[in-house]
């Protein structure tokens, strides 16, 4: 009989962004939870750039917050440069981004976890999973400890078989200076999981005292920072500036001359890297006609001189990195503190997962973050949250919690992963969401807080706050519909200069707001005084965004309904795709791997031919 040192409901392996959310959610749902990590001092470490959010990623953080996750609150307390991206564009594609004080973020995250009831932190390395009767029962640690668990979440990041490359040198590591997790990676292979290799990279960090800051263009924080959390009223951290600079053709020339020293180009790196986060080597080779590439100098915190050289990710030998950096205008005397590097790591085909992020092979085992082939803190965190919630729900015998593509970016991400798999590190984009106009960052609470409340992650005060906000927005919406501007109105003449108005008819503020050139400020001034005085700018913007997009969303829904009427057609469990006559072996294999549960999910599987889909449709509709 197995003797355990300790027993938990849920064990989370890894203290990165996925692991933190998973552990926090499971514990707060009442499951006794352990977070096992290699180094307690590095909980919530930002391994790469010191920033959270950005287009679509910011949406994810706000969705995490609306469901009751912690990332939004932590970054709101530790962010040192808040910017709302795409401010000049429509509300659906605006997204908050904040640069963090790297050390503060880490401390705040650890503090948050330490103050979470039911949550135990344990330092150590997990080397094996205990599985009996196709069910996970615990983990084995390197030091011999055995921990029992009803559910296990693996959120090991780049540590699984991590291999760092700088120039021709390679060494095993999970991150620079930290050991890789080799035995756990081997254990996963032995359990039969299909494992692949991915690659990512990071740029050098500079000593800020050796930078000629005047040579760079200053980029300031927003005057009115937009927080990530719906619970945050005000950003308290003092805000700093970042700086923008450029590479030159002579830098490119030098890189091209030394490509043979780059493991990316010598064939040494086998893993696939992300196309949207290329190394500087890739940039100068693939876009050889560009005569400069943009760089960002991002200070890493209030109390450090360390500066992150964003845009210069490289795996060239450290000596070469130092030479190249000094060729950049403004960095002539700059010193590198930490060299950049590339890292290869194992991931498990996410088509192994169900929509709750539980693997199909074994009950109680969940995967979250880079192990699923994703990249990015936000992508990791939202998976951690979903996996942590479902791990706890499973141990409590409650129904699993799933999110749909139509209602959240998290739903888009999970559905993409489990039906399409990954060929390169997966990052979220707004264009991945069919219903982009409906999935705004500022309405994440309206879309998701009800679920967070039902599950039990959204507390009384947050729920009360949400309801009050919703009521105020409803009042504004009603005022927009009922307030009409007539010719007799004192504001009429000034308004008529901005947009054509029919003097014989009145016009509602809702209709007026849809006119080009009518800014929210104009509408705000026309609202009844009692609404104007009580409302907040973001709440008026929310109401106007709903007003602006409603027609488009309806038109799109009708198009999608017309063309994809069969999307909701269910595909029965254990449907045997291999048995379908006329389906080529390759098509059947793609379907088998993805195991789509609806025809719509099958339609989104890449590489399926129209003929294969037609065959599937005819058979599925016949079998239902």
């Amino acid at each position: 009989m197995t003797v355990f040192d300790e027993a938990f409901d849920v064990i989370v392996i890894g203290g990165g962004h996925a692991g933190c959310e998973a552990a926090s959610a499971a514990a707060r749902l009442g499951a006794t939870t352990a977070l096992v990590t290699l180094n307690l001092d590095l909980i919530g470490q930002m391994s790469c750039n010191p920033a959270i959010g950005g287009i679509a990623k910011g949406h994810l953080v706000r969705e995490i917050d609306a469901l009751g996750g912690i990332m939004g609150r932590v970054i709101d307390r530790t962010g040192i440069q808040f910017r709302l991206l795409n401010r000049s564009r429509g509300p659906a594609v605006q997204s908050p981004r904040a640069q963090a004080d790297r050390a503060l973020y880490r401390l705040e995250m650890r503090n948050t976890l330490e103050n979470t009831p039911n949550l135990a932190l344990r330092q150590g390395m997990v080397v094996d999973l205990l599985i009996s009767e196709n069910k996970v029962s615990g983990v084995v640690m390197q030091d011999g400890r055995r921990l029992a668990a009803k559910a296990v979440v693996i959120a090991a990041g780049t540590f699984l078989n991590g291999l760092i490359h700088t120039g021709r040198r390679t060494y095993t590591a999970g991150r620079a200076g930290e050991p890789a997790s080799i035995e756990l990676a081997e254990a996963l292979k032995l359990l039969g999981f299909p494992v692949g290799r991915l690659k990512t990279g990071t740029p050098p960090r500079l000593d800020g005292r050796t930078i000629n800051w005047d040579a760079f263009q200053r980029q300031e924080a927003d005057e009115r920072p937009v927080p990530f959390s719906f619970a945050t009223d005000k950003i308290q951290q003092p805000q700093i500036d970042c700086y923008i600079g450029y590479t030159t053709t002579s830098v490119h020339e030098a890189i091209r001359k030394n490509l043979h020293q780059s493991p990316l180009y010598s064939g040494q790196i086998k893993g696939v890297g992300p196309r949207y986060c290329p190394s500087i080597e890739d940039k100068v080779v693939k876009f050889a006609d560009k005569d400069r590439h943009q760089l960002f100098l991002e200070p890493e915190g209030h109390d450090t001189n360390e500066v992150y050289l964003n845009g210069f990710s490289t795996s060239l030998p450290p000596g070469m990195q130092q030479e190249l950096v000094r060729m950049i205008p403004g960095l002539e005397t700059a010193n590198i503190i930490r060299p950049g590097y590339a890292i290869e790591y194992d991931f498990v085909d996410p088509r192994e997962l169900g929509p709750d992020l539980q693997v199909r092979r074994f009950a109680g085992l969940f995967h979250a973050g880079q192990i699923n082939g994703t990249t990015g803190y936000e992508e990791a965190a939202c998976q951690g949250l979903l996996a942590g919630i479902n791990a706890a729900l499973l141990t409590q015998g409650r129904q699993r919690f799933l999110l749909r593509r139509e209602e959240s970016y998290i739903g888009v991400l999970v559905d993409d992963l489990i039906t399409q798999g990954v060929d390169e590190p997966y990052r979220i984009f707004t264009s991945r969401a069919e219903y982009r106009l409906a999935l705004r960052h500022d309405n994440a609470d309206e879309r998701l807080s009800k679920f967070g409340r039902e599950i039990g992650l959204v507390g009384d005060s947050a729920w009360e706050r949400f309801n009050q906000r919703r009521d105020r927005i409803a009042t504004i919406k009603q005022a927009l519909e009922t307030t009409r501007i007539r010719r007799s109105d004192p504001a009429f003449p000034a308004l008529a200069e901005k947009t054509p108005l029919n003097p014989l008819e009145s016009i509602s503020l809702a209709d007026l707001a849809k006119r080009p050139g009518i800014m929210p400020k104009v509408i705000s001034e026309l609202l009844p005084a009692e609404i104007r005085s009580g409302g907040r700018v973001d709440e008026l913007e929310f109401a106007l965004a709903d007003n602006l997009y409603s027609g488009y969303i309806k038109a799109q829904e009708s198009t999608i309904h017309r063309l994809h009427a069969h999307d909701s057609l269910p595909i029965p469990d254990n449907f045997n795709f291999g048995q379908l006559n006329g389906l080529s072996h390759e098509m059947a294999e793609r379907l088998e791997r993805a195991k789509p549960v609806t025809f719509g999910a099958a339609r989104r599987i890449p590489g399926l031919t129209p003929a294969a889909l037609a065959t599937l449709l005819v058979n599925v509709s016949a079998s239902v």
Binding site: Y276, R292, Y552, Q556, T559
Partner: protein, 448 residues
């Protein structure tokens, strides 16, 4: 899967009729029908066999076995060619159904072919058109669709649309990257070009759908102006009864002819006048119905006499339709005041008696197809579903242009462009968001 059976040739009496069986029991049933338990026909070879009932030999038939999966449906298929008497085919069907087969639903053979991956849906559509084609021109158009030429014709437009989407998407998604500024005017012109190209393609439907469905022409006019004579001349046979008694034609009469490869359904109608009796009343009612259904009216007047009250009534009724005036009886001295009566109308002078001017009437009927020769070098839209999708795509593109004119943000312009792309996809196959992202990464250097 059960085994289905149907008569594959049209109903009625013919030299030969084909009864087709498809399904796993086809061969077993065949053995029972020919009374040979060991009968193992070589696939794809016709064999002469006697079909037996309990009462003796039913017929001598030519039997062909197509072995699964090498058959139209992908299943075992048996084709039995028997003599084309309705009695024989009826009894053969009954016999087969007495074993383990049931009568096929309409289109069930094609459905099975589709289910077994032998054909895809758009091929099925093209096959349907090919079977229904009434003329060579329609058949060749269906063949072109079968070969995927519509997708090809749409490809340049689709690529251009994707290029615009990629440019606008990258401006939205990669706001922190150092991307070239979007050339709004260039984008607008590209969308306009795509809309115009689609518009031209969609317009071919006005001719294209006639290729499929045929042109309905009704010959109308007051009694005794020579409608039936013209009808017979166009048919090149004495189909309608012609006398000099006004009101000889009491009922509408329809025949199909092929003019330059286009199917024309030609209807001779009862003349317009105050009805003399109940039969004539019904006849005139049918004339009105034929007029309402027609794509083109041929209004016949007697050129040898002045226009009468009924002529004016007919002309008035025709005003709401597309019509040609045929002034008949040019073999007699002309009495009709052309200038005051037909100004602005298309007019043809002819004599049904001498056949002078009949080619002019044919030419006038075929005028909408004047573009056919030049247009058929490109592609004709013949299917209403394709036409509908194109029109919707164009309307989405117009929406995008309108948003651009109003200075709307990219995501609103893109909402319409993506809708347009979805309509495209219903014809050419879907473009996924992954395709768009790949295109972005190969076009722009992304990566802050």
């Amino acid at each position: 899967m059960d085994t289905i059976v149907a008569v594959s040739t049209p109903p009625g009496r013919s030299a030969i009729a084909v009864v087709r069986l498809s399904g796993p029991q086809a061969l077993v049933i065949l053995r029972a029908v020919v009374g040979e338990a060991e009968f193992n026909p070589e696939p794809n070879r016709a064999i002469l066999k006697e079909v037996l009932t309990s009462e003796g030999v039913l017929d001598q038939c030519l039997i062909t076995y197509f072995q699964s999966p090498h058959s139209f449906t992908g299943e075992d298929v048996i084709e039995i060619s028997c003599h084309g008497s309705p009695v024989v085919t009826r009894r053969l069907l009954d016999l087969i159904q007495s074993y383990d087969a049931r009568l096929a639903e309409p289109g069930e053979f094609s459905l099975r072919a589709c289910r077994n991956g032998k054909i895809n849906l758009s091929q099925a559509e093209a096959i349907r058109d090919l079977i229904n084609a009434q003329t060579m021109a329609a058949a060749s158009q269906a063949t072109r669709q079968l070969r995927g030429e519509l997708s090809e014709a749409l490809q340049p437009s689709e690529h251009e649309l994707i290029r615009v989407i990629v440019t606008l998407e990258s401006a939205l998604e990669f706001v922190e990257d150092d991307l070239p500024a979007v050339q709004v005017e260039e984008m607008r012109m590209a969308i306009e070009r795509v809309a115009a190209d689609l518009g031209r393609l969609a317009e071919t439907y006005s001719v294209g759908h006639l290729l499929r469905e045929g042109l309905r022409v009704a010959i109308i006019g007051r009694p005794n102006v020579g409608k039936s004579s013209i009808f017979n001349r166009l048919l090149r046979m004495e189909r309608a009864i012609v006398t000099d008694i006004a009101g000889t034609t009491r009922d509408s009469l329809t025949e199909t002819i092929s003019l330059q490869g286009v199917p024309i359904s030609l209807t001779d109608t009862a003349g317009f006048r105050e009805a003399g009796d109940k039969i004539e009343t019904i006849g005139i009612e049918r004339t009105r119905r034929a007029m309402a259904d027609a794509d083109l009216l041929v209004v016949v007047v007697d050129g040898s006499s002045a226009l009468q009250k009924e002529d004016h009534e007919v002309l008035n009724e025709a005003r709401n339709h597309s019509f040609v005036v045929a002034i008949n009886k040019t073999d007699l001295p002309a009495q009709v005041d052309l200038e005051n009566n037909f100004n602005g109308s298309r007019v043809v002078h002819l004599s049904a008696l001498t056949e002078a001017g009949i080619p002019d009437l044919t030419a006038a009927i075929m005028e909408p197809f004047g573009r056919l020769d030049s247009a058929s070098a490109g592609f004709l839209i013949t299917d209403s579903r394709h036409h509908d999708l194109l029109v919707r795509a164009i309307s989405s593109l117009d929406g995008a242009l309108e948003s651009m004119d109003q200075g709307a943000s990219e995501e609103l312009v893109l909402a319409d462009l993506h809708n347009a792309l979805r309509f495209f996809g219903a014809i050419t196959g879907e473009t996924t968001s992954e395709n768009i992202l790949s295109e972005i990464f190969s076009t722009f250097c992304i990566g802050k």
